[in-house]
């Protein structure tokens, strides 16, 4: 299989080539690395670990105990070698991301209003209405700016195209509660602390203003006409795996971090309980799934949300970001239609590539999936976090046969894609510096317009040969540099 590396023009790297095999935007870094004494990286990694632990940048792992049996806090593995993208590549990505997220928001608005795209026959009605993420409660509800996904995490990979040239592909759209942006920001802070000399050598585009852009986006999303809308971050609480991020973002924006118990609804407005009595809330940046938002409408046993919240939302007295029901657009069964959406709503040619996708619900596609499963990646349409999937080439014949049965029993529950050879990037692992597979998640903000900071979170599969980058599955992160010319 053809490999594509971010730093080297070919793998395995030939150390005696005199640097000719280094891609141009990595040449300064490569020269710097060559000058470092052997133990530099190990020392800096130890330093990074101490700092992360002291700062408390951790994520909770469900059902895990540390050696003392006391806590469940793990540090996110952070890799010292940056992932570098030249500015011109990023500019194209940025245009493509803006276009894609605009189309996705138009699509969600359409689905909950006139459903033109269904009427035009581009997507089968049952595919929407049978989707568990479709919220009939949202039909006809108007939201500020007609924007549903204020914060979108678009997962992008780089892989060789038919000519063997590196090309970006969108792997997945995350429009519910995409996480990880705090790692993007903390990774950068850590890199600047550990390697100030690298930042003096390179012109790396800054990203530290992300919380400002986020706050601006959330304020623009306020339904009230008040000059100073009250924005809060809603967290499930300190035992949630992403609690660090919730607290971090609330602090960086200077807004309250609330739990469901801090909120209540009165006369169709939502308030938080404060030491000076109730205070009205205009915008909730929620980090809680739809199902838990309002026990009166969704899961009745949930204590993470606030009873009556959905009525307040539907009455236009509060905005919930991301909106309720965005999951209808980030499903793996809807993903193949995104290029169509771009053409349908915007009248434009899609700038970003989709990965070719076979849909189990189409007869021909299903036959192909069953016949070629060994070469494909098969995913459950509602799966997330690297669960409920099969990576054909990495599986045994027995596993493939077993999965065929699973897919045949519920074809519309699965899609398949050719196994992309995700690009790799040099990574500092136990055995030294070795190539590991990576992806990229830029965070796209939609308020009155679309904004983003350059780059995003690069996730890396630390296990050799692995293509799964999720932190719950042993993935790590890298600082992402957009290198200005």
């Amino acid at each position: 299989m053809q490999k594509f590396d971010e730093m080297y023009t070919q793998l395995p790297y030939d150390f005696f080539s005199g640097g000719k095999q280094i891609r141009a935007h990595y040449s300064l870094y490569d020269a710097w690395l060559a000058r470092q004494p052997g133990d530099t990286m190990a020392k800096r990694r130890a330093e990074a670990e101490v700092i992360f632990r002291r700062v408390g940048i951790t994520f909770a792992v469900y059902g895990d105990k540390d050696e003392d049996g006391a806590g469940t806090e793990r540090l996110i593995p952070f890799d010292l070698i940056p992932r570098i993208i030249p500015a011109h590549e990023w500019q194209a990505l940025e245009r493509g991301l803006t276009q894609r997220v605009n189309a996705l928001n138009r699509f969600i608005h359409d689905i909950y209003h006139d459903q033109e795209i269904l009427k035009a026959g581009h997507i089968a009605r049952e595919q929407i209405e049978r989707n568990a993420q479709f919220r009939p409660e949202m039909m006809g509800v108007d939201v500020p700016n007609q924007v549903y996904s204020q914060i979108s995490g678009i997962d992008i990979v780089r892989a060789p195209d038919a000519q063997g040239k590196g090309e970006y592909y969108v792997l997945e759209d995350n429009l519910r509660v995409p996480s990880g942006v705090s790692y993007m920001l903390e990774d950068r802070k850590m890199m600047m602390r550990l390697f100030p000399e690298l930042f003096a050598m390179h012109r790396v585009a800054p990203i530290a203003h992300y919380p400002d852009l986020l706050l601006e986006t959330l304020r623009e999303s306020s339904p009230a006409t008040t000059a100073e809308p009250t924005v809060v971050v809603l967290t499930p609480g300190m035992y949630n795996s992403a609690y660090f991020e919730h607290a971090f973002l609330a602090q960086q924006m200077g807004v309250e971090l609330v739990e469901g118990q801090d909120l209540f609804v009165k006369d169709n407005f939502c308030y938080m309980r404060t030491t000076r009595g109730p205070q009205r809330v205009d915008v909730i940046y929620r980090r809680v799934d739809d199902d838990f938002l309002d026990p009166k409408v969704f899961r009745p046993t949930s204590t993470l949300g606030c009873a009556g919240l959905l009525d307040v939302y539907r009455a236009g007295h509060i905005n919930i970001c991301n909106g309720v029901g965005t999951g209808v657009a980030d499903d793996k069964s809807i993903y193949p239609y995104v290029p169509k959406m771009i053409e349908f709503y915007l009248g434009e040619k899609p700038i970003l590539n989709n990965v070719p996708t076979y849909m189990g619900r189409n007869k021909d596609d299903l036959a192909y999936m069953l016949a070629h499963m060994k070469e494909l990646v098969v995913k459950e349409v509602h799966g997330a976090g690297g669960y409920g999937m099969l990576v054909g080439p990495a599986s045994t014949a027995a596993e493939v046969e077993e999965f065929k049965k699973v897919v045949a029993a519920n074809p519309s529950g699965y899609i398949a894609q050719p196994t992309l050879s995700l690009s790799s990037c040099p990574t500092f692992v136990e055995s030294g510096i070795a190539p590991r597979h990576i992806d990229l998640r830029p965070y796209v903000l939609s308020g009155k317009g679309v904004q983003m900071v350059p780059g995003g979170l690069t996730r890396v599969a630390l296990k050799e040969g692995s293509l799964v980058v999720n932190s719950s599955q042993g993935g790590g992160t890298k600082d992402t540099w957009i290198l200005e010319n």
């Binding site: 700062v55 408390g56 607290a247 971090f248 609330a250 309250e256 739990e259 309980r273």
Partner: protein, 319 residues
């Protein structure tokens, strides 16, 4: 500010202060135990320590005899004892974690670092190797949290609730300390009979003073030999002694005024009244009515203040 946030801040500082005072108390007991004294006296010392913290029953449930090693183990590293130093530091850190967005980075990192360190030190056996050094460390971590709090936090409600927690806890802890230490020598309170006893008295009272960093303060204020009624006066009535009941109540009243809301009038009145009694009280009157009775009543009223603060500011009112 969210009521829940205020609650976490209040308790975060109560636990930090309690860890410090427990370390102070254990240290003075440990130091005293190094002096020549009878086994009965030593045991009485450790038992007194447990009883002021109201932990005698839970201690006895786990240990047969009262020994220095067992009591220190129970009060320092027993995680099932909610008042042990490790439990307090961990509770302070958990409260901080719940509201880390409200704290400055320095405050959070200080509490988190304290918690990481205490776990490491206990695991490495550093406490057993040198108890005094460990107690000193706990005290200094508490000094550091207080310093980093007043040195970096915006002077708003968050700070006032934290300070309320610190000083309400301190008022409680100092009162308990005075109570147990005076209780121990109640029989011969008004002057010792023999020279031997006077010598014992010196060590006893100077140990108490040291436990609240008050030895040099006493010398400076009174320029006199150490007399028990003056020790009591210093720790109860002096407004310029930072760990005295009077000084603590001044802080409680001051911070309470800063956060006052529509329903806190009664709480302010009670705090003000308690402070006024310290302000205008005299040590001879207090001793005449009985120190133990006085302190018991004081502790009840501090507890009552705590309940009122919870009710007025911290507990989430139902919608």
């Amino acid at each position: 500010m969210l009521s829940r946030t205020a609650d976490h801040l209040f308790w975060m500082n109560r636990y930090t202060e309690r860890a410090e005072n427990t370390a102070r108390l254990l240290d003075v007991n440990y130091q005293t135990s190094l002096l020549p004294q009878s086994a009965a006296a030593a045991q009485a010392g450790w038992q007194g320590l447990l009883s002021i913290s109201e932990l005698l029953p839970s201690y006895k449930a786990k240990h047969d005899a009262i020994t220095a090693a067992d009591v220190m183990h129970f009060m320092v590293r027993d995680e099932t004892n909610p008042s042990s130093i490790v439990s307090c530091l961990s509770a302070a850190r958990e409260n901080a974690r719940a509201v880390r967005g409200t704290l400055t980075t320095e405050v959070w990192e200080t509490l988190n670092q304290t918690w990481l360190e205490v776990k490491r030190m206990l695991k490495a056996g550093e406490f057993e190797a040198d108890p005094s050094q460990f107690f000193e460390w706990v005290k200094f971590r508490s000094h550091l949290s207080r310093g980093v709090t007043v040195g970096t936090m915006l002077m708003d409600e968050a700070l006032h609730f934290m300070r309320l927690g610190t000083f309400l806890e301190r008022a409680d802890n100092t009162a308990r300390l005075v109570d147990v230490k005076f209780h121990a020598v109640e029989s011969d309170f008004f002057g010792a009979a023999s020279d031997k006893d006077q010598e014992y008295d010196f060590y006893h009272w100077s140990a108490i003073l040291r436990s609240v960093s008050g030895f040099e303060v006493y010398r400076k204020v009174y320029r006199d030999v150490i007399k028990p009624e003056r020790v009591a006066e210093l720790l109860i009535l002096r407004p310029d002694m930072p760990r005295s009941l009077h000084a603590s109540l001044n802080e409680v009243v001051g911070n309470l005024q800063m956060v006052a809301n529509d329903q806190s009038r009664e709480t302010e009145r009670r705090a003000g009244k308690l402070r006024a009694e310290l302000q205008f009280g005299r040590i001879d009157e207090i001793l005449a009515t009985g120190l133990h009775a006085y302190l018991t009543q004081f502790l009840d009223r501090v507890n009552d203040l705590g309940n009122h603060i919870s009710r007025d500011f911290l507990i989430l009112p139902s919608a």
